[in-house]
């Protein structure tokens, strides 16, 4: 693994060269917070942020995405037949993604890329991105990544890890895609000396010690699912919840979606939209029956999915990277750290 030094003076110039080759996405300030968007030419990612308000999952998995198109015009030979559409899966790069958000793609991949079924939209879009991570020297106070299988300098899922080191960036190159990105930018790749790697390590340790928020997840896998499901604390946990979809839409690891047809005149599209287990409609049967009719059931589903069902299904940790967005954005202060600890320490 190679670490190079990019002088901040050469940063903009390199990105400009890259922008000529393929689309760049990055964080930019919008009103009082940051969002991820496609950067237009000469626009630089704003790396002054702690993190974007919403996760960058939409770069791979847009909130609304067209799956197929159709015509209802019976004069057309293929009327009422759903047809695939051409989509742009040309290479693109996300510059300034936080390590937690990059790791989140790997968690979500287990859902979209399974031995039995492959979701072509998600997989192709994911394959198309090069992820240039931006290490967190100053993590947010409610980040708990180090106990959620992640960390401020976490490398999994990244092609390059950028580390801010005063007048320069240290860039740790971790994949072929990353190598190509750095080369295309034209940054000097020769200075890969060992002491750079040590510098990264020092900064990493400093960042990790700043993270004091934590969760305990060690006992989750051994808990009895039905006992946990029937635990008495859910009523108290769920009381404040207003069943908005904020936590799920902001979450980098939430993947649920709905499929809808939208017709305009005689032609239309089949689209998928993010959906949320917080909404009653999510599970509402045509008959009127709803297995998750009550708010408590929906809140329980969100936490059980992330912290128990996922743990049991994939034997690979929790479905959470500890980015803290749901904690920061929840309008009624429902805190996943608190719920996780309740679940982990639950005795039936």
């Amino acid at each position: 693994m190679k670490v190079i030094k990019i002088d901040k003076k050469n940063w903009a110039e390199g990105l400009k060269r890259l922008a000529d080759k393929f689309p760049l996405f990055g964080p930019v300030q919008k009103d009082e917070f940051h969002i991820f968007k496609e950067l237009h030419k000469d626009e630089l990612p704003d790396l002054s942020l702690q993190n974007t308000r919403l996760s960058p999952k939409s770069v791979v998995y847009p909130q609304s995405e067209t799956l197929f198109e159709y015509t209802l015009d019976e004069k057309q030979a293929d009327h009422h037949i759903l047809k695939e559409i051409d989509k742009d899966y040309l290479p693109r790069a996300v510059v300034g993604i936080r390590p937690c958000d990059a790791k989140a793609f790997l968690l979500v991949k287990r859902n979209f890329d399974t031995p039995e079924y492959k979701d072509p939209y998600w997989i192709k879009a994911y394959q198309a991105v090069t992820l240039i991570g931006y290490a967190c020297n100053t993590p947010c106070s409610n980040c708990f990544c180090t106990t959620a299988g992640c960390g401020p300098f976490h490398e999994e899922g990244l092609d390059v890890l950028l580390v801010d080191a005063a007048d320069h960036y240290l860039a740790q190159i971790m994949s072929e895609k990353g190598e190509k990105f750095i080369t295309a930018a034209g940054w000097d790749t020769s200075a890969g000396a060992n002491d750079l790697r040590e510098q990264v390590q020092t900064l990493k340790q400093a960042a990790e010690t700043k993270i004091t928020a934590r969760v305990s997840t060690d006992k989750l896998k051994d808990k009895d699912t039905t006992a946990l499901f029937e635990a008495s604390f859910w009523e108290d946990v769920a009381f404040a919840c207003i069943n908005c979809g904020t936590c799920t839409y902001a979450c980098p690891t939430c993947w649920c979606f709905d499929i809808q047809d939208e017709t305009f005149g005689s032609s239309g599209i089949r689209i998928r939209n993010w959906d949320s287990c917080m909404y009653p409609l999510f599970t509402h049967h045509g008959s009127g029956h709803n297995p998750r009719d009550m708010k408590m059931q929906r809140v329980r589903q969100r936490f059980m999915h992330k912290l128990k069902y996922y743990v049991d299904k994939y034997a690979n940790g929790i479905q959470c990277v500890g980015c803290g967005r749901c904690i920061r954005l929840c309008p009624v202060n429902i805190d996943i750290r608190k719920v996780c600890d309740l679940m982990n320490s639950f005795e039936s």
């Binding site: 009082e32 609304s64 106070s141 404040a240 908005c244 979809g245 904020t246 309008p331 009624v332």
Partner: protein, 315 residues
């Protein structure tokens, strides 16, 4: 604030002990700065966790609809007005609630405070109208009145309009506030400017429905955006559908909205959705001389007809 809290606890314990109510709905301390969590209390231990400070902006009337128990509810001015509305709309019975009135001097807008500092805020404490802010390299005090939620700065009903208990002496109401300066500014725009304004206003909406769900008025069993037969609104990020949702929701709140600010407070994207509801609030005031949630004695303007109802808008 300490006296408020002690009084709320004392009243709550008494109501529970005497079985006047089955539960108390109030706030407990949040896990992050400037946030409290709505909670219920059925036991003295739970009552002991109740708090009151300037981070209780969530409208607790939202937790009342369709409940069957007898409930003691902690209510600031706007909460009490929404309880009145709930009673008028048959969402709860008057004798089912014991209203623990809390005179209010406004709730703080945490986003305003966050925007004032470059570093993250780790703790905020308050005393005598001052807020002490602590964070990495920050240790300073600011005036609470400078960082209130915008609706609190123009609020003229800080005291609960109905109550059974009081947690503190009534406070002086604000007078001489210009409530609709922002609305007039939009009314004065050309159609093109308005179009652009609303387009921008709602451009970041993610349709999480936090505004709707935080609102005590939005208790419809099935919201019009969730209806499938007929499907009134598409469900994608189509801007027309997003605007339809916001405009129609605002209209559904006409003559009912108390400008409690819950919608705006809940929005994860910081959208000023109150602009829409306030316009209708202003219209109701001007056309029907109506302010919602002030009395149980009068029917709201949109469910009554009077021969002298204004009709100048019909062209």
């Amino acid at each position: 604030m300490f006296a408020y809290i002690e009084k709320i606890k004392e009243i709550s314990n008494r109501l529970l002990k005497e079985s006047t109510v089955d539960l108390i709905i109030g706030f407990r301390k949040g896990t992050v700065p400037m946030m409290n969590e709505p909670c219920f209390a059925k036991t003295p231990e739970a009552v002991d966790g109740l708090v009151w400070d300037s981070n209780c902006g969530i409208n607790l009337a939202n937790y009342l609809a369709n409940r069957k128990e007898k409930i003691g509810i902690v209510s600031k001015g706007c909460d009490s007005r929404n309880i009145v509305t709930h009673i008028i709309e048959n969402k709860i019975k008057r004798d089912q609630v014991v209203i623990i009135g809390v005179p209010c001097k406004g709730m703080i807008d945490r986003h305003k405070i966050e925007a004032m500092f470059d570093t993250e805020i780790e703790a905020v404490t308050e005393a005598d109208g001052r807020l002490n802010i602590k964070g990495d390299g920050v240790d300073t005090a600011i005036d609470k009145k400078d960082v209130l939620q915008q609706n609190c700065t123009i609020c003229t009903h800080r005291n609960p309009v109905i109550y059974d208990e009081l947690a503190a002496d009534l406070v002086e109401e604000q007078t001489d506030v210009d409530k609709y300066e922002d609305i007039r500014r939009i009314e004065d725009m050309t159609p093109e400017e308005k179009w652009e304004y609303f387009e921008d206003l709602l451009s970041t909406c993610i349709r999480c429905y936090a505004c709707r769900n935080a609102c005590p008025l939005c208790y419809c069993p099935t919201c019009f955006v969730d209806e499938s037969q007929p499907q009134w609104v598409g469900k994608s990020q189509n801007p027309t559908d997003i605007r339809t949702f916001h405009f129609l929701r605002a209209y559904h709140c006409a003559g009912r909205c108390t400008d409690c600010g819950a919608c705006e407070r809940a929005c994860p994207m910081g959208i000023k959705v109150r602009i829409l509801t306030k316009k209708l609030e202003k219209d109701c005031l001007e056309l029907f001389d109506w302010e919602s949630g002030l009395t149980l004695e009068k029917r709201p303007p949109l469910d009554t007809y009077r021969p002298d109802d204004p009709d100048d808008f019909i062209k």
